[in-house]
């Protein structure tokens, strides 16, 4: 596949970079055979106006059959990342968005290759990496401050209101419920009555918020790049919304995002997170609202897995990891039942 990509990428870069002649692409490597967009890293060198230039790039392509394909649009990611350039949020600089699939084989986004590593928190090596970083003490602060930067971003001033702005009150929670309900309906999955119970409960107990911020939607280790014990870039801008900041805080607090440790998201001591987050944002953490959002995450997880299983069931994607998610639906629903008290 890399030869095929290379054949369209080099002429595209030559034109977009206004190169004097050919662009040489090195180290083209697909870094994740993931369920979402394809991600490729490479280095490019070229001549421009008689001067030698070189730079690392990250290319994301949308094959059209990925998980969350209905709600994860590279064009939107491009706009979000462009808006973030005017904020303190560590994020990759974006260069080009190519919507026409005929040009690069699929809609594609080209951005900066940011230095750093992104160990998976679900493996032993990753957990050891985060535990060691937690003990050194720098990463927990940087991680928390990165979330604070997202919540402190002046989203209206930088143009992120194009994401849609819910009214104050319970509109944000209701909008999220509706979004995940739609994904469940689109999945074609038969569902389970626990889901009906969960959705009924969520609708009956939707909390009110009086402050709206940019919300990342999946802020955890594994979705940030780390260099020298600091967050060098927040990644995975696929689920961001304007909404209740407690939605992200709940994701920090949830046991789902840590394994065998009390450290939030495998890396931040709880008291450090509360202290640093509240002082950096001026927002008091509302644990009742966080508990509500943890139930909303149970719904979201079920919706993810139903959607993933549906992608395999309808023949859109042959990846057997998607077929396996049929049983992950039960795991998400079991968790929901537990959260609902049974």
């Amino acid at each position: 596949m890399s030869d095929e990509l290379l054949s369209v990428l080099t002429p595209y870069l030559a034109e977009r970079l206004e190169a004097d002649g050919e662009v040489v692409v090195d180290q083209l490597d697909r870094i994740a055979v993931g369920w979402s967009h394809e991600t490729w890293l490479f280095d490019a060198s070229w001549m421009a106006k008689g001067e030698p230039r070189s730079q690392g790039f990250c290319l994301r392509r949308d094959p059209g059959n990925a998980l969350l394909r209905q709600m994860s649009d590279l064009g939107e990611q491009f706009k979000v990342l462009r808006c973030l350039e005017a904020t303190d949020v560590p994020a990759p600089e974006v260069y080009f968005y190519e919507e026409d699939p005929a040009v690069l084989g699929a809609p594609a986004l080209l951005m900066e290759k940011v230095a750093g590593v992104c160990p998976s928190p679900w493996g032993k090596a990753g957990r050891e990496f985060y535990a060691a970083a937690a003990a050194r003490g720098v990463l927990p602060l940087s991680f928390t401050e990165s979330l604070a930067a997202i919540h402190n971003a002046d989203w209206r001033a930088v143009g992120l209101d194009f994401l849609g702005v819910p009214e104050l009150g319970d509109a944000f929670a209701r909008r999220e419920i509706a979004k995940w309900r739609l994904l469940i309906e689109q999945s074609g999955h038969p569902g389970h009555p626990i889901l009906a119970d969960l959705i009924g409960w969520l609708e009956a107990n939707a909390p009110s918020t009086d402050r709206l911020t940019l919300v990342h939607g999946a802020f955890r280790t594994g979705n940030v790049l780390i260099a020298d014990d600091r967050v060098s870039a927040v990644l995975d801008w696929e689920l961001q919304v304007i909404g209740d900041p407690m939605y992200d805080v709940a994701y920090m607090l949830t046991e789902l995002n840590r394994e065998g440790t009390d450290l939030l998201s495998n890396v931040v001591p709880r008291d450090v997170f509360f202290d640093r987050y509240e002082s950096a944002t001026g927002i008091t953490i509302d644990e009742d609202r966080c508990r509500y959002y943890q139930l909303l995450y149970a719904m979201r997880s079920a919706a993810f897995w139903m959607s993933a299983a549906g992608l395999f069931a309808d023949g859109a994607n042959r990846d057997l990891r998607l077929a396996r998610t049929e049983w992950s639906v039960s795991v998400a629903l079991e968790r929901a039942a537990k959260e609902l008290g049974y």
Binding site: H192, A196, D197, A204
Partner: protein, 135 residues
């Protein structure tokens, strides 16, 4: 000698995990082999446990319908209709529409709270059965 389908699938799963997967050089294809192993193992378990699970579900649903009848007597027509469907099907799946109607009636309504208190233990048993396959 012939093998029961559940046992055949279990052996296929073991072969994929122990013999075939490790011999595959390509990372993506190797992952697919291991995923196929996991899936076959679960389908095998599902086949093995299916009859006992179906019997348990039926017995629980009969008991639940009997218990819900008096609690939901005189409930709004949409609730009564959904309860009738549950009685006709005796499946856990048929509880979904009933739950939707109960919440539409009102989550603070005492009889809804009482009905939820009866339905949830049945849902718990059902998800426990599903987890016996999923884990």
């Amino acid at each position: 000698m012939s093998l029961e389908p559940a046992e055949l699938l279990r052996r296929l799963s073991a072969s994929l995990r122990a013999d075939i997967g490790p011999a595959v050089a390509d990372e993506y294809a190797r992952t697919q082999a291991f995923m196929a192993s996991v899936i076959l193992e679960r389908v095998s378990r599902q086949l093995e446990l299916g009859p006992a699970h179906a019997r348990a579900e039926d017995a629980e649903m009969v008991a639940l319908v009997d218990a819900l009848g008096p609690v939901l007597a005189g409930a709004p027509p949409a609730v009564s209709s959904a309860l009738l469907d549950v009685g006709n099907h005796h499946t856990v799946a048929s509880l979904g529409p009933l739950l939707e109607q109960l919440y539409a009636w009102g989550s603070a309504e005492p009889r809804v709270i009482e009905a939820l208190g009866l339905i949830r233990p049945t849902l718990r048993k059902d998800i426990d059965r599903k987890m016996a396959v999923a884990e």
